[in-house]
């Protein structure tokens, strides 16, 4: 990614290569819903003009990236995965983070497929098709930011953007074997993104390396008065300080996070914990309650957002989303208030844990990528619907807004005999590195440490 900044390549030549990669690799995966080559050519030309004039280049000069199709792109309709948005007028400006990526020199090549209205953990979109897993096309990419994870996992672009309400960055990052960052709630502005649940919506990057992830994160930081949830904090760049201090106290989350992790997920946690020197187990006792609270608040807010169109245009919603959304609009207010209390309670418990630990680790998904259309997950001795079950380990964490870097682990990593093509062991599974609020630096430093140790790695299919 740094070849342009180092003068080895032009932005135009990189863009040309990305176009070929899209042509060759995207058709079986279905990552893109729209391409923005005209804009990309303008952005690449602007970088090459700076280059030829010998002027300093911005940090992401010429780096190609793509965004989940809920980010506004000037001149394009923001779909948020929903056909009923296709008749909306085009966006009049870029989303704030897209504008910040542009200012950092990145080159936008397209918009990416997602779960309809971001409601679900698989990207089996009834209108725009299924996004498949780059490591096994019979399996799904996860969701709701499935296109964003798959496009990086396939090596088409080094960086993409997605959103995470209950796990929509962490689950697909886990299933597609890429790095993903869900920052602290309120760290990155959501202005110009199609909302789902205002109380939980986060935006963040996916990348093929920790340095790329941190570079994109740094480029997007900073306050934004137009997003009331966005913290009024100056940017805290971390790219230059990605090293984990000796003595960092790391706890392994047991209880709920162990019970709902299958043997492969447990092995992934074990590998990450071993490499980080973590051996102490701990528990977030309110995890199950926090997940329930996330469910109730999501149902109520998500339903309320879409209620007018559910009344008028019910048939235009996909079958998987519409009945769930309507049910959400019927949730009694007292349930929502209780869920908000639970959220606070779980947050306080987590803050007490962070007096003993600097970082917590847990699997990001309970299982490796399920097959497309698989309706039920078997997790240890329990069955759970796939659409809801894939988020069982991420929902309690986003409910309380903690920053998380998901790192791709290959559970067969130290067992070469099991590491044969086509076997289940070849599939990645992500591990969440969870920090206290505003400690993205620690999450990314731990991720970098695992990457340098060869434990966390992105593998091209």
């Amino acid at each position: 990614m740094r070849q342009i900044n180092q003068g080895a390549r032009s932005a135009a030549s990189v863009l040309c290569e990305v176009k070929q990669l899209i042509e060759a690799r995207d058709p079986p995966l279905n990552c893109f819903t729209a391409l923005t080559f005209e804009r990309a050519q303008r952005e690449a030309a602007a970088i090459d003009a700076l280059r030829s004039q010998g002027k300093p280049l911005p940090p992401l000069a010429g780096v190609p990236y793509a965004v989940k199709n809920l980010f506004d792109i000037e001149g394009m309709v923001t779909l948020a995965g929903a056909k009923l948005n296709a008749s909306n007028p085009p966006a009049t400006a870029d989303a704030t983070v897209v504008e910040r990526m542009r200012r950092a020199g990145a080159v936008l090549v397209g918009a990416l497929n997602m779960e309809e209205l971001a409601y679900g953990f698989v990207t089996e979109n009834p209108h725009y098709g299924t996004t498949r897993n780059p490591h096994d096309h019979t399996r799904g990419a996860g969701g709701s930011s499935g296109g964003s994870a798959a496009v990086v996992g396939a090596g088409i672009v080094p960086i993409s953007l997605g959103s995470d309400t209950s796990g929509s960055i962490r689950v697909p990052a886990s299933l597609c074997g890429v790095f993903g960052l869900k920052p602290t709630y309120g760290r990155l502005p959501r202005t110009g993104t199609y909302p789902f649940v205002n109380s939980f919506d986060h935006v963040g990057p996916f990348a093929g390396s920790v340095l790329d992830l941190a570079s994109a994160y740094d480029a997007m930081q900073g306050p934004d008065a137009l997003d009331p949830a966005c913290a009024q904090r100056a940017p805290e760049p971390i790219c230059a300080s990605l090293s984990l201090a000796a003595g960092t106290r790391i706890g392994i989350l047991g209880g709920w996070f162990h019970e709902w992790a299958d043997p492969t997920a447990r092995r992934a946690v074990q590998l990450a914990a071993g490499a980080l020197g973590a051996s102490q187990w701990t528990e977030l006792k309110n995890a199950e309650a926090a997940r329930a609270a996330a469910y109730i608040i999501t149902g109520a807010e998500g339903g309320a957002l879409h209620r007018p169109r559910l009344i008028e245009r019910y048939e235009e919603f996909g079958p998987a989303a519409r009945a769930r959304l309507v049910a959400g609009t019927l949730i009694p207010a007292s349930w929502v208030v209780q869920a908000q209390r639970v959220r606070q309670q779980a947050y306080r418990e987590a803050m007490a844990l962070f007096e003993r630990f600097d970082l917590l680790i847990a699997a990001a998904a309970p299982v490796v990528a399920p097959r497309v259309g698989e309706e039920t997950l078997q997790i240890n001795d329990r069955s759970i619907p796939t659409k809801a079950g894939l988020g069982v380990l991420t929902q309690p964490i986003s409910c309380i807004g903690l920053p998380v870097c998901t790192v791709p682990i290959w559970p067969g990593l130290d067992r070469p005999a099991l590491h044969r093509p086509g076997s289940e062991r070849e599939l990645p599974l992500g591990v969440q590195l969870i920090g206290a609020p505003w400690r993205e630096d620690l999450c990314l430093a731990a991720a970098r440490s695992l990457e340098q140790a060869g434990i966390a790695q992105v593998r091209l299919p």
């Binding site: 309650a289 469910y295 049910a327 959400g328 019927l330 209780q338 209390r341």
Partner: protein, 62 residues
């Protein structure tokens, strides 16, 4: 149908009418299934005694 399933369905039907939805029986049946799932998960937290102080107050700045 059990008494609790019956009262849940009655609630869904009444709430749909109150909110202005007009659905056929198949659609109502789908919504009842989805609301039952929400109710099941809500039951895990509804009876947890929690202090008023743990309730987030929406901030209003005129």
């Amino acid at each position: 149908m059990t008494e609790s399933a019956d009262s849940l369905e009655s609630y869904v039907r009444a709430a749909l009418t109150l909110q202005g939805y007009r659905f056929d029986e198949t659609q109502i049946a789908e919504i009842v299934v989805q609301f039952s799932r929400l109710e099941l998960i809500a039951q895990t937290i509804l009876h947890q005694p929690l202090p008023f102080a743990s309730q987030a107050a929406p901030v209003f700045r005129p």
